[in-house]
């Protein structure tokens, strides 16, 4: 009995230690980003362009480029994702096609993002002959779509069937039931998916390396290489210059806390939505 108790105590201790181990890395990484980033944070970060080596500057063009690409990706990916999710939940819920699409969608959800970047490179950059912010947005949209598909599928399926039956009984055609009633009922779930997707694609670097590339100067042209925060962080962090390192940390700070704040907000709102 004593031996069993001892083994049990060790196992429980290990489980607690494992949890501490996980939290420890989170704390360490956040602390590093916070301390290094806060030290490098200056107002000029949001007013000046990315500098050449050895000079001071900011990340204005990178923030702008990232925002443009992420918004465009959401504009492209959200309708497609919601439409596919609607098919899975409403039109073909138990069909063979739906089962296959759910399966493939889950694979896409975990597919290596660098492969997605190369795919868009082959598809867009190669055919148009140049890197562009547009290609970057497409790559990000391709990462967003599976997230939106999954969350809209799941939240539509959570809508009780009575609601559909009541709407059908009023004589509404199927598409209006979906568009006017089910979307409204599933809105918080669908929004949660879009916002989590937004958080995810804001930090994605690998798919932008060969699509949007980077641009040291101010450019609002989506048909040309476009500066963006993740690739700037990558290039500056890998460089030997201290000024660039500082800027990379400042960018990392803004990026991390944007992404984490969005995640926490979404979880908080989603939980509240479920309670009411």
């Amino acid at each position: 009995m004593l031996r069993r108790r001892l083994v049990d105590a060790i196992a429980l201790l290990f489980a607690g230690a494992a949890t501490l181990f996980g939290l420890f890395w989170l704390a360490w990484i956040l602390w590093t980003t916070l301390s290094e980033g806060a030290a490098a944070l200056k107002p000029s970060l949001f007013t000046e362009m990315t500098p050449p080596p050895g000079a001071e500057g900011g990340l204005l063009n990178a923030f702008y480029g990232s925002a443009m690409m992420v918004l465009l990706a959401i504009a492209i990916g959200t309708p497609i994702g919601i439409a596919a999710g609607t098919y899975l939940a409403e039109q073909g819920r138990y069909s063979k096609l739906a089962a296959i699409v759910r399966f493939v969608n889950d694979i896409l959800l975990s597919a290596p993002s660098i492969v997605i970047g190369l795919f868009i490179y082959e598809l867009v950059v190669r055919t148009t002959g140049h890197f562009s912010g547009f290609a970057g947005a497409l790559a990000l949209a391709m990462i967003l779509i599976p997230i939106v598909v999954r969350t809209s599928d799941e939240s539509l399926r959570l809508v009780p069937d009575q609601m559909r039956e009541a709407a059908f009984a009023l004589g509404l055609p199927r598409w209006r039931v979906t568009a006017r009633i089910l979307y409204k009922a599933a809105l918080s779930g669908i929004l949660t998916g879009i916002l989590l997707g937004l958080a995810r694609i804001s930090g994605e670097t690998a798919p932008l390396l060969f699509t949007a590339l980077n641009n040291q100067f101010w450019s609002a042209d989506l048909n040309a290489p476009l500066a963006n925060v993740p690739v700037v962080i990558f290039q500056y962090a890998m460089s030997p210059y201290d000024e660039w390192h500082a800027l990379a940390w400042a960018g990392a700070f803004v990026l991390t806390f944007f992404v984490l704040a969005l995640n926490l907000l979404v979880r908080f709102v989603a939980r509240k939505g479920l309670k009411t």
Partner: protein
């Protein structure tokens, strides 16, 4: 009143909706097909882009060690080896930790702390991978070089079998560091699935074990784990799929070296890191094609791993409803 209501449900309303229904059905089904097309398109375009490399080197592309840009010889053994070794290290770290976390969150932690701890662990997955990379390069690699690797050199470097794994200069950048960073990154993925399947074990089974006088460890090892075995393997494969394809974090701390070395402390390369580092510099068709061929290999391997994960998890789904 009654007359109007009757007219409302009449046949004209039904036929008016038919065209809209057909259009709506077409659009949504089209979007569903589009999802399939994306995956197929990615596979075909990687295979097509890599055909030149496969034609030129044949099987030697996978078995060749030499990655020589000047002589245009490309063998992918080093990146393949690096990918496998770093992912293996990641699993060695992440699997026991994740199961420990899942156990802690389902059975041990006080109820009110479970939500916040689970969210904190999931935030580990939300941190962008480039942040892991930067932290790894500037903070963790120097820490490894200063504290962990010299110790490994001294205590394990001269042992008989595992010695060569832990000898070599303690420079911090290398497969061990990359594997540890990867391990931290995949903990949340494995832990959250493991927690969900642990929660889905029927309480009657656990209660029966309690009634027989089992300790919590015995419940885990003799009831929960055997019952959830396939789903746990699925969760591990899910984590493995993530580790294999992770790019930015590994690129920072792996060192981009094209040499095969037994030591885990030495710089190496991985498929994803090689592509990220070299693709924009690839100036010949063969070079570019070789990198795309690498991406194709990565794509195929992760597809297989993720499919296995899905199948394992689906077995669990069938036996007691959806779990994730």
């Amino acid at each position: 009143m009654r007359d109007r209501a009757v007219r409302y449900v009449g046949i004209p309303a039904g036929t008016r909706g038919a065209a809209g229904d057909r259009l709506f059905g077409l659009v949504t089904a089209g979007a569903a097909w589009f999802v399939l097309l994306l995956l197929a398109g990615a596979a075909v375009s990687m295979a097509w882009g890599g055909r030149l490399a496969f034609e030129t080197f044949g099987l030697g592309f996978v078995t060749g060690q030499e990655w020589n840009v000047v002589e245009a010889k490309f063998g992918a053994l080093v990146p393949i080896y690096g990918t496998l070794v770093t992912s293996a290290i990641a699993l060695v770290i992440a699997v026991p930790v994740s199961i420990g976390i899942a156990l802690f969150l389902t059975d041990i932690a006080p109820r009110w702390t479970r939500g916040p701890i689970a969210i904190a662990i999931e935030l580990l997955a939300a941190v962008p991978s480039i942040i892991y990379g930067m932290w790894g390069l500037f903070v963790f690699a120097p820490f490894m070089a200063a504290h962990i690797e010299p110790w490994l050199n001294d205590h394990l470097g001269d042992k008989a079998v595992i010695g060569p794994l832990f000898s070599g200069p303690p420079i911090g950048i290398g497969m061990l560091t990359a594997g540890i960073v990867l391990g931290i990154m995949i903990i949340p993925f494995i832990a959250s699935v493991a927690r969900d399947v642990f929660n889905a074990v029927p309480p009657a089974l656990k209660e029966a074990a309690v009634a027989l006088g089992s300790t919590r460890w015995e419940i885990l090892s003799r009831v929960t784990l055997p019952y959830t075995r396939s789903a746990i393997v699925g969760a591990i494969f899910l984590g493995l799929g993530r580790a294999l394809g992770e790019t930015m974090a590994v690129t920072f701390v792996l060192g981009n070296a094209h040499d095969l070395s037994a030591s885990l402390l030495m710089p190496s390369n991985s498929i994803a890191a090689a592509i990220a580092n070299e693709f924009t510099e690839a100036d010949t068709n063969l070079y570019r094609s070789s990198l795309i061929a690498l991406a194709f290999l990565l794509f195929v391997v992760t597809f297989i791993v993720l499919t296995a994960a899905k199948l394992m998890l689906a077995r669990m789904d069938r036996s007691f409803g959806r779990t994730h």
